[in-house]
């Protein structure tokens, strides 16, 4: 989007939400203690939900050089975030079943408005913007545990203007296709009840898959699943490669002595698990937590905090080309030269093409416990 576009979107938010969300006073008490950072935009920056040493929930952004950008309190544990196409707005979603989505100014760290969940709907921790930045899509859970995409109008102050079904239960990650016309949604398939948080009610017959949905009309375009994997694999996290192929990072809920491949990718009209040596999947301990495409979309990174490993996958060949060790490593985002990966044990490292994690040299990063997802600002 052009600079004019960015200003237009930003201006509209300002008009719609009085007082203008990002012109309101910043959370001074929480940001004042941070050392002053570099000029915004001088180094790539990243945003993640985190917990501090006292266990308080935060939204924290830092530069690739280890510089602090902002650190603001959250009312409850956060999860993933979406950044508008022009980089002008970030939205950090509460972990499912979530009650809020926090708007943030990515460079100044000012706190914008907090979106509250709609009645009978809960945020699922992920969202994305439309190509023109005018709409925010959020995966949400309804009262029956079925998935919907909540649609929010950016120019109307993020008013919730509608919703459409995801065609499955337990919706999680969501991505806009490169042409901007459709949305991929991962329906994890595992039923839960917001009144009994964190307890999965059906780990036996659940059906998980990905749905392609028209971004304008909400019409279901297609659904894809892995044959014969009902009740064993939950499709949860997504990344798009340079050609627009979708990579799906999965969790295994079947018998523990089975170790199926935990990454799949779309084919011409289907979905196929990647092939790799058994040891590769064994190293992930039945679980992947996050996925991201590198800059250029030629490499896909998938992390497994349980296995304490991350995989680097070459998109062209769909082969796992290398892996790296990082206990509890989960958050992953593209960075120049590779990926930044974060862990719940305080690590923030740059993983280069050689799959060698090099910690960012900043002690303050290590005092935070970094939650599931990291996004570039």
């Amino acid at each position: 989007m052009t600079r004019i576009g960015r200003r237009a979107v930003f201006g509209l938010i300002g008009f719609a939400a009085a007082p203008p969300a990002f012109l309101a006073a910043p959370a001074a008490a929480d940001t004042a203690t941070l050392p002053s950072g570099p000029t915004p935009g001088s180094t790539p920056a990243f945003l993640s939900a985190a917990a501090d040493e006292e266990g308080r929930w935060r939204a924290v952004a830092f530069g690739l050089d280890g510089s602090p950008r902002f650190d603001i309190p959250l009312p409850a544990r956060g999860h993933g975030a979406a950044v508008s196409p022009d980089g002008g707005i970030a939205v950090l979603f509460a972990r499912r079943p979530g009650s809020y989505a926090q708007l943030l100014h990515p460079t100044q760290g000012r706190v914008g408005q907090m979106l509250q969940r709609a009645t009978g709907r809960w945020f699922c921790g992920h969202g994305c913007f439309s190509a023109d930045g005018g709409l925010l899509y959020a995966t949400e859970l309804d009262d029956d545990g079925e998935g919907v995409v909540g649609v929010y109008s950016v120019p109307r102050g993020f008013a919730r203007i509608g919703e459409f079904p995801t065609g499955g239960a337990d919706p999680h990650d969501i991505r806009l296709t490169p042409d901007g016309r459709a949305l991929w949604v991962a329906n994890g398939g595992i039923r839960t009840d917001p009144s009994v948080p964190r307890t999965r009610l059906d780990l036996e017959t659940f059906e998980s898959g990905i749905a392609l949905i028209d971004a304008a009309s909400g019409r279901a375009l297609s659904k894809r699943a892995l044959d014969g994997e009902e009740g064993t694999l939950s499709l949860r996290h997504l990344a798009l490669d340079a050609d627009g192929a979708l990579y799906v990072a999965m969790q295994h809920e079947g018998p523990r002595f089975e170790r199926p491949p935990l990454v799949a990718a779309t084919t011409a009209d289907g979905l196929a698990q990647l092939e790799a040596a058994d040891d590769v999947w064994r190293g992930l301990d039945h679980y992947t937590g996050s996925a991201a495409a590198g800059q250029g979309g030629e490499v896909i990174a998938v992390t497994s905090p349980r296995g304490g490993r991350g995989l680097l996958i070459e998109a062209r060949s769909r082969r796992v080309v290398s892996s790296f060790a990082m206990p509890d490593g989960c958050g992953v985002a593209a960075a120049p030269g590779g990926f930044v990966v974060t862990s719940g044990l305080g690590r923030v490292a740059l993983v280069d093409a050689g799959a060698t994690p090099r910690d960012l040299a900043a002690a303050w990063l290590g005092r935070l416990r970094w939650d599931n997802h990291l996004v570039g600002l």
Partner: protein, 356 residues
């Protein structure tokens, strides 16, 4: 100058850091020793004794079908005793797939029925020896398979004159369980390198330090709660009344499912109390109380479920009671991952323990 300052700092800090390290190690070693002495060995002893009694009773039933009732009682006692150790999914219970061989649950693909059918059709005693069971037929050699023989729809055929192999299989499972029970107890109590010593860290064992041992125990505290909540209880409850699945209860044939849940919860509460409660109390007394209260709340909630898990999930009031059990179990897991692990210095992140 910086170099000299660094050297000076190192001279001052090293003994302090070393002393602190030894202190931490002592705390962790003490926790491991409490777990082994007060929870693990008593649990494995109880299971081995119960399994031996079941072996004797099932052998008696093989010789005389009129003895089947005693075998049923011994089976119940063995399954209850297993709840004292089933959450300890590492080491002896993990080796040789013993955990799956003792209790193949949940069985989402009817492997138990299929493998039992194969064994009963073959009627070959060589296929049901402890050695043969070590090599395969994981689903047909443990508590659920013997429950089907003793309590299932076809239980009356256990006494049938033309079905002697049902009794042979029952006795073989009894012997197999007793063998595994003894082998596991032996691994914990042998004089040479008992498993508890390995947990404290050895140069050549699976645990490099006391920290590795403590982390393993903690993972099993959390994993045990998750298995209990999601596999034993929530999958029976189902997402709605319409989708309740009484026959997914672990022991619906014997009617013991709720008793197993209560026994498992009591064992896990005791595991927490002897192992990690003192460490947490030292780090954060309020947090320790919060955890203790949640265990107590879960125990009380399990006590209110009536008349059985299978029936409770099919009525609105019963479901509410079951949900009252699941809520503290969920909160406990969250608290353990988000607050307790960092409070007691365990390098276990919330991403791996409570992911999404």
């Amino acid at each position: 100058m910086p170099t000299r300052r660094l050297v000076l700092a190192a001279l001052i800090l090293t003994p302090v850091a070393a002393a602190r390290g030894q202190e931490v190690e002592a705390v962790q070693r003490a926790a491991i020793r409490r777990a082994v002495a007060q929870h693990i060995i008593p649990g494995y002893t109880a299971f081995a004794e119960a399994a031996r009694a079941f072996a004797t009773a099932s052998e008696a039933a093989r010789a005389d079908p009129a003895q089947a009732e005693a075998a049923r009682r011994a089976w119940v006692a063995t399954d209850l005793a297993f709840q004292r150790i089933r959450h300890l999914r590492f080491g002896p219970l993990d080796d040789f797939d013993r955990g799956f061989r003792i209790s193949f649950f949940p069985d989402t693909r009817n492997s138990i029925g299929r493998e039992m059918g194969e064994l009963l059709r073959a009627a070959d005693p060589a296929q049901v020896t402890p050695d043969a069971f070590r090599r395969g037929r994981v689903a047909a050699q443990g508590l659920p398979a013997s429950e089907r023989l003793l309590f299932g729809d076809e239980a009356p055929r256990l006494a049938a004159a033309d079905q002697p192999f049902r009794r042979v299989l029952l006795a073989a499972i009894g012997t197999n369980l007793a063998t595994m029970g003894d082998d596991m107890l032996q691994a914990w109590t042998r004089s040479e390198r008992p498993y508890g010593t390995l947990l404290e860290g050895t140069p050549d064992g699976g645990y490099a330090s006391t920290l590795d041992g403590v982390v393993t125990l903690f993972k099993n505290v959390v994993g045990g709660l998750e298995f209990l909540a999601e596999r034993e209880v929530a999958r029976v409850l189902g997402p709605s009344l319409r989708e309740a699945f009484p026959r997914r209860a672990e022991a619906w044939r014997s009617g013991e499912s709720l008793a197993l849940v209560r026994a498992s919860l009591a064992a896990q509460q005791q595991f927490w109390t002897v192992t990690f409660a003192p460490m947490t109390e030292a780090a954060d007394p309020a947090l320790a109380r919060e955890v203790a209260d949640l265990y107590a709340e879960a125990v009380a909630a399990a006590g209110r479920i009536a008349p059985s898990l299978e029936v409770a999930v099919t009525t609105p009031d019963g479901r509410a009671a079951v949900e009252d059990l699941l809520r503290p179990l969920g909160t406990l897991r969250r608290l353990l991952a988000e607050r307790v692990a960092p409070a007691i210095g365990l390098p276990l992140g919330f991403n791996s323990m409570d992911g999404d």
